[in-house]
Every structure is written in C-alpha cells, then in structure tokens.
Symmetry: C2
Subunit: 536 residues, 2 copies
C-alpha cells in the first residue's frame, strides 16, 4: 500500500470521511487512492478558500473534522482566510497539504515557498511526514490534534514521495478523550458571586450556545437575576423553537459597554472578555466598564456545557426551587423582552408576510415568515442583515452560524460545508454582495453536489460597513476618491448572471412580495438557488 | 499631517503612484488621504489576489513598483498566491498592510493573526512602523528595498494609530542605484569557454528576454554556434517584430534534457540551472545532463543585459567580425528553424486566417493572424495554449508575460495591471478555464477602469494538465472518483454569463471563423471583452 492510501485509510478509520479539495500534481496519488477508498467523499472546489470554509461549516454542524487536500504553499495560502475564521470558531479541521518530494526541494522549484512557516501562522498543530512508514501515525495524530480541546487547525504536510512510496500502513484511530471538567471549586466560587445579589452579567459563547448550554444559562439567569448576553459572532447558535432568546453583545463598543454597564460582576462562560473589534481614536478597546469584576467560569478547552449545568444546579439547590424543563418553561413564558432579559422566543411567533418595498426590514420579515423548520442560517450579511435575528427569534428551531474571524468570504463556503454535513436540512446563506465576491466559486460546488442551499444575496452595492467605519475612525477630508473605493456601483454586479454562470438557478427580487415568493420556491425545491435581493 | 498622508506622499514622491487595493477598517485613513493626494491612483479590486497580481503585471510593464493596500492578515493571505508569482518573477512590489492599532493588539481581536510571520513567508523585506514619525522613512525604505536587485516583495505593516496620528512627514525618495555589473573576469572566463568550440548552450532568462538582451544573446549564438534557449516561464519576453526567436526550455523534464543533451557547456544568463517543475517517480529532478559543465555568467541581481552585451562584444572582437544590427539581421535571415537554433521570426510572417473546427491549433492561428502590433500577451493558458507561441512568432512586436511561480489565478490579475500600466496597448489574456476561476473578480476591475483587455477564455472544461500529471506521476488504480476531481463538466461553467455579471461584454465562439471575428471586434473596440472559446 502506498503512502497516499495509508493516509486515506487512516483518516477514514479516524472518522474523517469528507475531503474538500482543489488538488494539484503533488496530490495526484491521494486523488488516485480515492478510487480504492470509497468511504472518503471527495468534494471538488474551484478555489481553496471554498475548501477550507466548507470544512469549517461541515465541522460546525457535525462536531468532527473534515479534511482539506491542498496544493503546496499557494493552496494553503488561498485557504488561509477561512482557516483563520475556523480557528476563531474553534473548529476541528485537518489540512493535508501536498509538498514537493523530499529530494526535490533543494532545487527550489517554482512552486516552492516557506510552507512550514506559512502553516505555522494558522495551525495549532503541524507536522511534515518524513517517511512513508510514519504517514499513518501522523494522520491519526493530526485528527486527534484537531479536537484540541478546544478544536483547532491541524496541518499535515505530505511530500509527494511519501505519497507514492510503498510501505504505508493505516494507523488505528486515537480515542478522543472527553472534555475536561471545570473544577468544582470554580463552580462554587462563581455560584457565590451570583448568589451575592449584586447586579451581574453572564456572557456565554462557544458550545454554551447549543441547546443544553442555553437551557442551563437560562436557569442561571432566572434563579439569580443575572443578565444573559452572548458573544457577537458565535460559531453555532441554536435558536427558535422556543429556545431561550439571548441578547448578543453589540459589535460597536459603546453599545456593548451600555449593555454591561451597571453590573458589578461579569461571568464568562465560553466567551472572552468583551473587547472592541477594531480600535478607534479616543474610544476604549477594553469594553469591560470600570467597576465590573470579571470572573472566568470556564477556561478555554474545558466543558462549558457541563459547567453551566453544574452552576445552574448549584444555584437551584441553594434556592431550593424546581429547575426542570417545566419550571424553565414557566419562567421563560413570563420573562420580559427588555435588554438582556431572557425572552420567550416562541411568544413572538412568526413574522408576518411582508409586502411593498424591499428593504432590510421587509427582507428580514420575509425570512422570518418563511424560514423552514430545522434550517441552518449562515450569516455573512454584514450591515444588511441587522434585522433578521429579531425576525427569526420566534420562528422554528434553527442553527445560526456567524462570521467568527472577521475575514470576509466565509458565508458561501461555510454554507456549502454545512449542507454537505446536514442532508435534509435547508441552508439559508445571508450573504452581502461585497463579501460574496470573495469566494463566489462556492456556488459551483453547490450545483455540482446538488446541495440544498438558498443564497439570499443582499445587494446594497457598496461596502456599507466601511462607509460606517470611515466615519467612526474619524477620517476627515475624504471625498469622491475615497468614496469610490467603498462603492460597488461601477459596474453593477449582476448576481443572477454570475450564479447561472456557475450552474445555480437564480432570480432577482425587487419588492417584498417577489422576495417571499422566490424564497418559498427555493425552500420547496431540492438543490441550490440564489435570490438576489436588491435593497432600496 | 497624519501618518496615512505622509505615507501616501512618500510613495508618490518615490515614484509609486498606483495602488491596487481592497481596503478595510484599519486602512480607512489611507483611503481618506487619497482625496488629499490626487497623484496616487487607487484601483479597487474585489479580492486581494487581484490586487497583488495586478501590481505584478503593472511592474513587469513599467519596471517600477505599484503598491497594494491590504487589510490585516487575511488581506495579505488572500494576496499571497500572486505575491508568490511576483516573487518568482523578480517583480518589485510594495505591500502596505494595515494592522490593528499598536495598543489594541493585546486584546487579540478577531481579525488578529500572526501577520509578521505571514509576511515573512513571501516578503524579502518587511517592517512594521512603530511611530508616526517613522512612517515616511519606512515607506521610502520599502520602495528602495523593492528594487532589490533583483526586484522583490517589500511589505510595510502600518498600525491604524500610526495612520491616524498627527506628526507624519513625507520622506524624500531614495535614488535607485544602477544594477551592479558582472566582473570583467567572469565575462572573459565565459568567453573563453564559448571560444573553445565545444558544443554549448546559452540559457537566458529574466531581463535578458527584453530586446537588448535578445539581440546580444543572438550575437553570441551567431558568433560561437552556441544553441540559444530561454527559461520556460519568463516574466516578460519581447517577441515578434523581427526580434530573434528563442526556443523555450520545455516544461517536461525529458524534453528539456533532450534540448540540452550533446552540449559540453551550459552558460546561464539570468536563468537558473534547469530543474524539473515537479518530481516524478524514477525521473530526474536535475535536468542538466551528465557531462555538461554549468557556468553562471550572471549572479542574481547583476546586470544581465550589460553582461550579454559585453560577452557578445568580447566574442565579436575575437572573431573580428561585424556585430551591428545589419550583421545580425543577415545572420538571422539565413538561420535555421531547427531545435534551439536562432530563427528569423519575421520570415515566418503572419499566420493565415483559420476556418473550421475550433481546436487549440485553429485558436492559435486566429491569435497569430490578428494579434495587434504592440500587444501584451498574458499567458495562463496551461495546456490549451501550447500552439500560440509558434503562431505569433512571426507576427508584430509584442510582449509575452508568463505564469512565473506556478500558482494559478495569475492571468486575469496580471492582465489587469499590465493594462493599467500600458494605455494604448491591447492586452490579450490567454486564460485556461480552471485557472480563470481562481481570480475571476479581475474582470470587474477591468470593466470599472475601462481597460483594453481581451480575455480569450480557453474552455476545455477540465484540469487537463492534471490529467497528464496523474499519468506522469505513475498513479495507478485511478478511476471514476479520481477522474471526477479533475473535470469541470458538472456543471459547465458559462463564462459569457460570468463575465457579463461583472460588467464585461462577452461572447462565445464555437468555430474558428467565429473566434476570429470576435477577436477582431474586441481588438478594434475600447475596453475589455471576454471571448469564450469552446475547444473541441
């Protein structure tokens, strides 16, 4: 068995059976081995940024890594931006990067670069396989490393001669150990803080934003009066279907400070201490208001869900009150919708069917009115999607995947991978026009794989976020030439034409009724569709 | 004056007056300053890979650097692949990368990454400006550093607070010193080798492939009987218009060895010793046949044109024969077209107008028949363009820009930058379908800037090079699943639709007459056009 086949068999044996790729010559033995290892599904992308983003989306939905197969330094570099987002999402992800044959590197051939140095800028674990005998063990180690905890990027560099040499042997799967628990003393310490009765905020993130974590957080908020907030850009946020609603920490610093101000304690559970996304002249980077004590309930890599459960139990025991689902249900049904309060999503119900002008608000209403049960919403809407969270909170159960690392071009690839991971669920990608153009090639893979992805392309025809930011950073004296670098009007991008060019059916909506009708159609048909919403 | 304005004024004062960019929040002060420094032309791209490739194309045509303006680690990473190609082309190029404010980095905000480590993998010079007082001097140093010699990537990282702080002052331009000369002893040594009468090959590359270098190389070949070859992927190759024709070193190793075999001496002038692009099992990486002595006429960074002139003069003096253009003309007119011989391009004349089926050959004939005088050919045709060099050799004077670093997605961006650099000249981009999809966003910038670029999109609907390579690396047992990862049929890419979606007029050709008519139309109209040639 050659090295490539041993590598593939090890990956599959370790539970990694989807490979997003755009291969090159140095990966041809891996490609050839796919015919001998049919358990591995190879998904072709037209650009590596699609492959890495898809692997991120896949792992967010399955909890296990996909692998990429990338071509030397350029392949890894093309995938870097979405690896960055995956890193910020704590996504487990395995990169296999083909390299020149070991003996070939000394000729410094054209495609050679500092691949090791490049991998280091995005990978928490990396190794270059030196001998075919090691490739199985290296692959098994890479998969284990990707789990962290927390989840991380593991990059295995495989020289071409390791792939083609005989003598490879698959290595057995490493068992993935359970997440380590938060020490009981820490739980008790935080419980004491929250029992103290001083105004407190519980800020959750990461795995705490799945069903069990949300329920536990809601119990804590109910029993202590703590205000519940969540991180701004979660990897996966379970929403709708009557799940507790959680207010997001605002993107803009002054709004985030206002959300926390008045509290004496800030308890972090899977989230980091609030800090500004960017720095602005004369504005603070640290968003923890003065006088607020920060307490870390869960250090990175520990089991945040179990910690919230334990904390909720400890607080409930102290109160002596019931904490079962019925008690929670009763509590949320009587909760308020005030800032930061724990709200009953179901009470809002579905948004009504919108009509008239197509605006950010009527677009949001259309989504809220029609969102299918079990949908996966991938959100790279930047400015245009601001009203969608409220419009969908009262809708059916869905998962919401955000842009975790700020590197645009994430939405379409993550939607692609999420759809590969979740057959039978509709993926709705809320995609801004400027961001879409970074990795539009994802549409072709959606068509090729007949994925159930609806891309709702929000065309405001500008980098609107930058028009805001230009003012916020206090840039002065800017006029026509500066403004021209933030506009996408000349020429107008025709996303219907672009999508059709890649084999994805596409239509344009110019009013709210039209948008609702097109979304309805896409949600009822198999396969991908793009709906361009021209926002007025 | 704030740091951003001082930076801009220094760049302009140093002769750098075109900026290819996709900016973000950390670059907003630079963007705003464009209105105060109108000498700098800002060119917006939809993806950083377009910006870096355009800067490469611009510098190849002007000999001076453009600047990019990139957004933090992700912006630099998105531009990495074409920086890699630029590095391999010895292109002078300045990157300005915006970074978080110095005091903001300790919060590890979402967009933060190891920007310094990332820059190091592609830049020969890099610096992070620490204080606004330094930004002028740093920018002037960056421009100087980009000239090398040889030309290189210089990356200046500019924190947001350096950009927005007052106290910046433009720095004066550093004079660019002339290229150092090859020592006379080396010239004499090589002259002695070539005078020896043993079979020799002169392999030229880099700046030797401009008019003066080609003329000198041709004189050397004529006076010594040396066989003239040139590197496979030149940054700029001056062709047509009666210039000496030079045979290219073949891409596939066994063919390259055959081109050199029989020689006793191999003289390198601006080219590296022949080595295989990739390694293949059982095939040599080193393409210098046994028994061939390698002599380096020009070390990297020295003046290859002057060296070839001096060598030609030395050899002519020894022979006592005339070496003026007339003598050369007479020699080339009587030369042979055999492998490696110095051929008279003009004698071939224009290719005839093709008709019938649209194949790689009739496509090449159409290009040869119609190529406008002074055209710039950007070649990312991979397998489909193999017949175009022969078909254009006898045509009018043109420049030929190749894929220097093997990282695909270079053609459309380089064509964009070459057109910005060369108003009044038609750019013809020979673009393979698989490669086009890497950086197709370049079309939008071509439309926006009304650039005279004709994209001849060669649709063979596969990664045909990889189908060849799959066999060459000896991969066995490959079948349907492996083949599927190399084909682009499902679904078919419609490049007419894709180009129109970005505002570029586009048509499809399915026979040779149709292709010729569409090329004729595009060459006679201003602005960009894409012609999709469906090759049978």
């Amino acid at each position: 068995m050659n090295g490539a086949e041993a590598l593939l068999r090890t990956l599959v044996g370790s539970g990694v059976d989807v490979c997003f790729t755009n291969p090159g010559t140095s990966e041809m033995h891996f490609v050839a081995a796919l015919d001998r290892v049919p358990e591995m599904r190879g998904v072709l992308t037209l650009f590596e940024g699609v492959a890495t983003g898809a692997a991120d989306g896949y792992a967010r939905m399955t909890g296990k890594p996909a692998t990429t197969l990338l071509h030397l330094g350029p392949g890894l570099a093309n995938g870097w931006a979405n690896l960055h987002n995956a890193r910020r999402a704590s996504t487990p992800l395995v990169n296999i990067v083909g390299d020149h044959a070991t003996y070939h590197r000394r000729f410094d051939p054209p495609l050679q670069a500092d691949l090791w140095g490049l991998a280091r800028t995005t990978s928490a674990w990396q190794r270059s396989t030196a001998r075919v005998d090691d490739v199985g063990a290296d692959a098994a180690d890479a998969v284990l490393a990707s789990y962290g905890p927390p989840g991380r990027i593991a990059t295995l560099i495989v020289p071409a001669d390791v792939s083609w040499s005989e003598g490879g042997a698959p290595a057995p799967r490493h068992p993935v150990p359970p997440l380590p628990l938060v020490p009981p003393e820490t739980i008790e310490e935080i419980a004491k803080v929250l029992r103290g009765g001083e105004p407190s905020v519980l800020l959750i993130g990461g795995a705490a934003m799945r069903e069990r974590g949300l329920d536990a957080a809601a119990r804590i908020a109910r029993s202590t009066g703590a205000k519940l907030l969540c991180e701004t850009f979660p990897a996966v946020h379970a929403r709708g279907g009557g799940l507790p609603e959680v207010e997001k920490l605002a993107y803009f610093g002054e709004m985030a400070i206002a959300q926390i101000e008045g509290a004496r304690h800030l308890v972090l559970a899977g989230a980091r201490a609030p800090a500004s996304f960017f720095a602005y002249p004369g504005k603070p980077s640290d968003l923890v208001p003065e006088g607020v004590s920060v307490h870390e309930l869960v250090a990175p890599g520990l089991d945040v869900t179990a910690a919230l459960d334990a904390l909720a139990d400890a607080l409930a025991d102290a109160l002596g009150s019931g904490t079962g689902p019925d008690a929670l249900g009763a509590a949320t049904r009587t909760g308020t919708l005030g800032a930061g309060a724990l709200g009953p999503q179901a009470a809002r119900g579905r948004a009504g069917r919108p009509s008239g002008r197509l605006t950010a608000e009527s677009m949001a209403a259309a989504v809220g009115h029609l969102l299918p049960d079990g949908a996966i919403v991938v959100d790279e809407s930047i400015t245009s999607g601001v009203s969608v969270p409220a419009a969908t909170a009262g809708g059916p159960r869905h998962d919401w995947l955000a842009l975790t690392g700020g590197s645009i071009g994430q939405g379409l690839p993550v939607a692609t991978g999420a759809a590969v991971a979740s057959p039978g669920r509709r993926v709705l990608c809320l995609e801004a026009d400027g961001s879409a153009m970074y990795t539009l090639q994802a549409l072709w893979t959606q068509a090729r794989e007949s994925l159930d992805v609806t891309t709702l392309l929000l065309a405001n025809r500008s980098y609107a976020i930058l028009q805001l930011e230009l003012a916020r950073v206090g840039a002065t004296g800017s006029g026509e030439r500066a403004g021209a670098l933030l506009d996408l009007h000349r020429p107008t991008l025709d996303f219907v034409s672009l999508a059709r060019g890649m084999g994805v059916p596409a239509e344009r909506a110019t009013d709210a009724e039209g948008l609702a009708a097109l979304l309805e159609r896409s949600f009822s048909e198999d396969g991908p569709m793009l709906v361009e919403a021209v926002l007025g």
